[in-house]
Structures are given as structure tokens and as C-alpha cells.
């Protein structure tokens, strides 16, 4: 498992207060009641700080599942 995978998993588990084992590739906003727009922004800011990048609004809208979050992060140069 790469650094992006690990960080996304641990940050999502921490922000959404769910077990890390539940953060699967296809887990999406619609599946987790606690994953609302405010929690989403908390997650985005945590990811930006962790990887030292700045995401665009389009990125933020696209990052609605674990798989999409990882795809965008890799496109933005987050280090694996």
C-alpha cells in the first residue's frame, strides 16, 4: 500500500469517525451519513496540508469517493 492510500485511509477514518477497515476503494459520500459537505471540506483541508498541494473547486467536487480522491491526488502530484 502506498503513502497516498495509507494517508487517505487514515484521514477518512479520523474525519468520519469510522474504522479504517471500512475505508474501501468504492466507499463514497452517499454511503456514509457523516460524510456531509462540512466533513468533506475538513477532509480536503487535511489532505492539502498533508500533501502540500492546493486543490481546485472542480477537484473538490470530483472527490466524492475514495477511488476518486486517490485519482485526483495522484494527478495533482501527491507523493506516493
Amino acid at each position: 500500500m502506498g503513502q497516498v492510500d495509507e494517508t487517505v485511509g487514515s484521514l477518512l477514518a479520523e474525519v468520519l469517525q469510522i474504522p479504517a477497515s471500512g475505508v474501501t476503494e468504492d466507499l463514497a459520500m452517499k454511503d456514509v451519513e457523516a460524510w456531509d459537505s462540512l466533513k468533506h471540506m475538513e477532509l480536503i483541508v487535511s489532505l492539502e496540508q498533508r500533501f502540500g498541494i492546493e486543490l481546485t473547486f472542480d477537484d473538490i467536487v470530483a472527490m466524492r469517493s475514495v477511488g476518486e480522491i486517490k485519482r485526483v491526488l495522484r494527478e495533482r502530484g501527491a507523493v506516493n
Partner: protein, 249 residues
């Protein structure tokens, strides 16, 4: 936030507190735009402060706000700072006992004050913040509240509206801070402006001054300095700065 070169919108910036803010913002080299419904006042402002961009808009009207902010965004892009200053001061108690009987607070004026002092803040902020968020602009919203938010006898509508403004300040600070947008409020006490003199008689003003530990009214420039300081201080957030000469202690 350093003000130099920042795009700042001031609602109700033609006179009184708003005008004092505009003058100080211009001195700090901010790019100032004033939204106001007073067309003659805007023309006068344009003559006196040529760098200020003037927009005729009744900010208590949602359609006007949508149209005016849309034009602003096309021309300038996202604003860095919004100062929600526009409003009306109205003083009436819930009931008034007269020789002719009991007179109730006019519900039309209740709605008008809530629209001018509270709904306007919601309309302007939603339109301006939407653009800030979609462009990832880190900005500041400053809501001009009042010490009346604590409950001033004789100001049902005004006090309710300003208490609502304080609540929105707290709610939006929680919602928007993760996106880098601070939301703050400044609550002046009794200040020496035209609207204070229009709304409060000289006799009552003299009584009010006796209750202020500093024994005087605030000056518009002092309130404007407070507004600029909360914009500049990046750690001030979700709070109301009360500038009342010690009236509420």
C-alpha cells in the same frame, strides 16, 4: 489580511459608518466597491473618491443582489472581503400606550427592518461566498451588528435582526473557516451618525450618553478602525467585536 490591493465590497457605503469604512479602506489602498440604493449618494461618493466603484443595489432585494453581484464577478472576479454594513435603524416598542389606546408595533416595519438588516446579510453573503468558494479565494466576511443584539428596549425589530446577524456570524464561521474564509462581526454602540440622530431624539441620546462609561458617543472613524483591525487580524474569527465605550460590561 493585508488590505493593499484587496477587493473589498462595502454595502451601504454612501454615508455614516459605511462611508467612514470606505475612506479608511481607500487610504489602505484597497480596491473598494460600494453597493448602495442611494443613487444621488453614489454619484457624490464617485466625485469625492474617484477610485471607488459604485453599484446601485437595494441589498434587501434578492433579485437585485443576484444581478449586481453577478455583474461584479464578471468584471472583477471573486471579492476578498465583504462588509455587510447596509441597514436601517428603527426604534419602536412592541406596544405603546397612548391616551387613545394601545398601539402595536407596525408589522410592515418589522418586515422591512428584518429585510434590510438581516436578509440583506444573507443575500449578499451567499452570492459573494459562492464565488469565493468556487475560486478557492480565502477571504473575510464582516457583519456590522449592534449592541442592540443584547436586547434594547424599544427596538424589537432592530434588536432581533442584529441578534440574527450575530448568529449567522457564528454559523458561517463554523461552516466556512475550513475553506479559508473568516466570518466576523463588529457591534457598535451608540455612534454619532446621521441615522442615529434621525432615529433617537436628543433627549434620549443625552440619557444614553450618561450610561456610557466614557460619557460620549462613538465616532464613525473609531468603528471603521475596528472593522479594519478585524479584517487584518487573521486569528479573529466567529466573534463579535463590541465597540460601545463600555456600555455593555
Amino acid at each position: 489580511m493585508e488590505l493593499r490591493g484587496k477587493k473589498v465590497i462595502v454595502t451601504g457605503g454612501v454615508r455614516g459608518l459605511g462611508r467612514a469604512m470606505v475612506d479608511q479602506l481607500v487610504r489602505n489602498e484597497a480596491a473598494v466597491t460600494v453597493f448602495d440604493l442611494n443613487l444621488a449618494g453614489l454619484e457624490e461618493l464617485r466625485k469625492q473618491q474617484s477610485s471607488v466603484h459604485c453599484v446601485e443595489c437595494d441589498v434587501s432585494d434578492h433579485e437585485q443582489v443576484q444581478a449586481a453581484t453577478s455583474r461584479y464577478h464578471e468584471e472583477f472576479g471573486a471579492a476578498d472581503v465583504l462588509i455587510n454594513n447596509a441597514g436601517i435603524l428603527y426604534s419602536k416598542s412592541l406596544i405603546k400606550i397612548t391616551p387613545e389606546g394601545v398601539v402595536r408595533h407596525d408589522p410592515t416595519m418589522w418586515n422591512k427592518v428584518l429585510a434590510a438588516d438581516l436578509s440583506s446579510v444573507f443575500y449578499m453573503s451567499s452570492c459573494i461566498v459562492e464565488k469565493m468558494v468556487t475560486t478557492r479565494t480565502k477571504g473575510v466576511i464582516v457583519n456590522i451588528s449592534s449592541v442592540s443584539a443584547n436586547g434594547n428596549a424599544g427596538q424589537s425589530a432592530y434588536s432581533a435582526a442584529k441578534a440574527g446577524v450575530n448568529a449567522l456570524t457564528a454559523v458561517w464561521a463554523k461552516e466556512l473557516s475550513p475553506m479559508g474564509i473568516r466570518v466576523v462581526a463588529v457591534a457598535p454602540g451608540f455612534t454619532e451618525t446621521g441615522s442615529t440622530k434621525e432615529a433617537v431624539s436628543e433627549t434620549i441620546l443625552r440619557e444614553i450618553v450618561k450610561k456610557v462609561p466614557l460619557r460620549r458617543l462613538g465616532q464613525p472613524e473609531e468603528i471603521a478602525e475596528g472593522v479594519l483591525s478585524v479584517i487584518k487580524n487573521d486569528f479573529f474569527n466567529g466573534k463579535v467585536l463590541e465597540l460601545d465605550g463600555g456600555l455593555i460590561v
